[in-house]
C-alpha cells in the first residue's frame, strides 16, 4: 500500500473533485431556476417539461452520452459552431467532463428543489406580496430559506452523483490521463489493464468519499428537519 501511494498519479481524484464542484455549482443555480420556472407552467406543460428534465436520471448514462455527442461532436453543426465562434470544445476535454456530470446530476437538484418549493406554504408568498415585497425578494428571502433543507440535500446528492459519473463522461470526454480521467473512469481503466491494486485503491477512495457525503447530509438533515413528531 505504501509503495502504491508513492507511485500513484493523483490527477483522477483532483479531476473528480474539480468536476464535481463545478458541476454542482451549475446544477444548484440552474436546478433552482428550472424548478421555479416549471412551477409557473400549467399542468400539461409541467408534466412534459418535468419529463424532459428528469430523463437523464432514468436513462442509462450512455444514452445521455450519446445525445451529448450528437449535440457537441465537432462533426455536428452545433459543436462546430461553438468551436468556430467561441473556441469551446467539449469532446475529449475537461469541460466535457463537467457537461456530462452536470447533465446526469441536474435532475437530482431540480427534483429536490421543486419538491422543497412545493412544500412552502402558499400563504408565505401571499403575505410577502401584501407586504409590498418584490417577487425576487420573496423568492430569495422567504422561499429559499424555508426550502433550505430540501435544497441542501439536493445539492449533496448532485455532488455525489457528479463525482461518480462514468457512462456519459467516457462517451463525451473520453479517458485521457491528467485531462479527463476521473476516479470512476480510472477504476474501469485499471481493472481492464489488470492493475487490481490501483483499482482497489480508487474504489476505497470513492467509497469513503461517498459515505462521507451521505453521512454529512444525514447530519445536516437531522439538524434542520426535526419536526418533533418523534416518528421512528
Amino acid at each position: 500500500m505504501g509503495e502504491l501511494l508513492k507511485t500513484i498519479d493523483w490527477s483522477p481524484l483532483y479531476l473528480s473533485l474539480k468536476t464535481g464542484i463545478v458541476a454542482t455549482v451549475l446544477t444548484f443555480f440552474l436546478g433552482i431556476g428550472a424548478a421555479r420556472q416549471i412551477m409557473k407552467l400549467n399542468n400539461t406543460a409541467k408534466a412534459i417539461a418535468d419529463g424532459i428534465l428528469t430523463l437523464p436520471l432514468v436513462l442509462p448514462p450512455t444514452v445521455a452520452g450519446f445525445f451529448l455527442l450528437l449535440i457537441f461532436s465537432l462533426r455536428r453543426p452545433f459543436g462546430r459552431y461553438l468551436l468556430e465562434n467561441f473556441d469551446i470544445k467539449l469532446v475529449q476535454t475537461w469541460p466535457g467532463c463537467v457537461m456530462a456530470a452536470f447533465v446526469i446530476a441536474f435532475p437530482l437538484m431540480y427534483r429536490n428543489a421543486r419538491a422543497a418549493f412545493e412544500q412552502v406554504d402558499v400563504t408565505m408568498i401571499q403575505a410577502g406580496r401584501t407586504l409590498g415585497l418584490s417577487e425576487r425578494k420573496i423568492f430569495w428571502k422567504i422561499v429559499v430559506p424555508i426550502a433550505a433543507p430540501g435544497l441542501a440535500s439536493g445539492t449533496v446528492l448532485s455532488f455525489a452523483r457528479a463525482i461518480g459519473e462514468y457512462g456519459a463522461t467516457t462517451m463525451l470526454a473520453g479517458n485521457i490521463l491528467g485531462k479527463t480521467r476521473t476516479v470512476s473512469v480510472a477504476i474501469a481503466t485499471e481493472v481492464t489493464a489488470g492493475n487490481w491494486d490501483t483499482a482497489g485503491f480508487w474504489v476505497l477512495v470513492i467509497v469513503l468519499l461517498s459515505f462521507f457525503i451521505v453521512a454529512s447530509m444525514n447530519i445536516i438533515a437531522g439538524k434542520n428537519m426535526n419536526n418533533g413528531s418523534g416518528w421512528a
Binding site: R129, T130, G132
Partner: protein
Amino acid sequence: MLNAKIVKKFHGFNLDVEFETDGGCMGILGASGCGKSMTLKCVAGIEKPDSGRIVHNGKVLFDSEKGINLPARERHVGYLFQNYALFPTMTVEDNLKISLTGKDKEKQIQISEQIGRFQLQGLEKRYPSQLSGGQQQRVALARMLLCKPEMILLDEPFTALDGFLKDTLQLEMLELLKDFNGDVLFVSHSRDEIYRFCDRMILLSNGESVVEGLTKDIFRKPLKVEAARLTGCKNISPIERISEYELYALDWNIKLKTAEPIGDSTQYIGIRGHNLIPVNNPEEENTMKISLAGSAHTTFQQQYLVQNASKLSSSKIWWIREKKEYEAKEMETIPLYLKFPKEDLLLLS
C-alpha cells in the same frame, strides 16, 4: 371607501358579490366555504377575479373590462392571514424588518417603536414557532401595520386561538384598530365576532350576498331565512298566511299572531331560542303546550328541544334559558307551556 364587484368561479360554485364600505369596519359573515376568504383575497390582489371591478378611495385596483389588475404589492392593503403567515426562518425582528426600506438606523427605530406598541419586548430574537398564538397574532399585526396600509383585511383572525385567549385578544385588537382610519374588512364565521367588531356587515351564502346593512339591524331583523340562520336563529318554520296579523306555522302546528303586518313575500317565521317564555296560563296569546324531546347543559345555558304536545310529528323547537336566572334544581322542571311573544317573531322571506 371600497367599492367591489367580484365574480369568480371556483371549486364547483360561483362567487358573485357586490358591496360598498364607507370607512369603519365591515364584516363578512358566512359559513365555511361560502367564499368569504376568496373575496378578501381578490380585494388584496392575491387571487384574480374572473370579472368585476374593485375601487378603493378612487384608485382602481381591478377592472376586468379595462384590463386593470394592480399587483398585490402596489395595492397598499394589509392582510392578516388566518395562520398569521409569519416567516418561520426569521426572528420576530426580521419579520418586522422585511418590508421596510431605507437606512438600517431608521429601520431599527421604527422596529423598536412597533415592538413597544405591540408589547413584544423580549421576543425580538425569537422565531415564530417559539411564540404563543396570541404573540404570533401581535407580530403579524405589527408587521402588517408597518407597511402603512390604506385598508386592512382580517381573515378569521381569532379562529386559530383557544377560547380563553380569544376574548382578551379581541379587546386588544379593537384597541389597536381604533388608531386606524382606513377601511377594515373583517371575515368570520362567528356571528359574535362580527357583532363585536363591525358596524356594517354583509352576509354571504354559497358565494352570494344575502343581505347587507347595519350589523345591529340585521341581527334585530334578519328579513331573510339565510340571514336568520347565520345570525343564530335556530327556530324557523314555513308559514301559511291567515290574515294580515295572523299566520299558521306549518312545522310547529300553531297559529301565531304577529306585531307586524304579514306581507306577500313572507314565507317563513323565526324565533330565537332565548325569546321563548315559559308560562302557566294556556289562554295567553301565542302559547303552545310542549313536551320535552331532549336537553343539553352548556356552561351558562340550558338548552331544551321541545315539541308541540298536541302533535308529536311536528318539528322540534330550541328553547334556551340562561342559567343564572334559575337554581340548578328548578332547571329540571319543565313548564307546561311556552309563549312566542309576538314582538320577537321574525318575519322572513
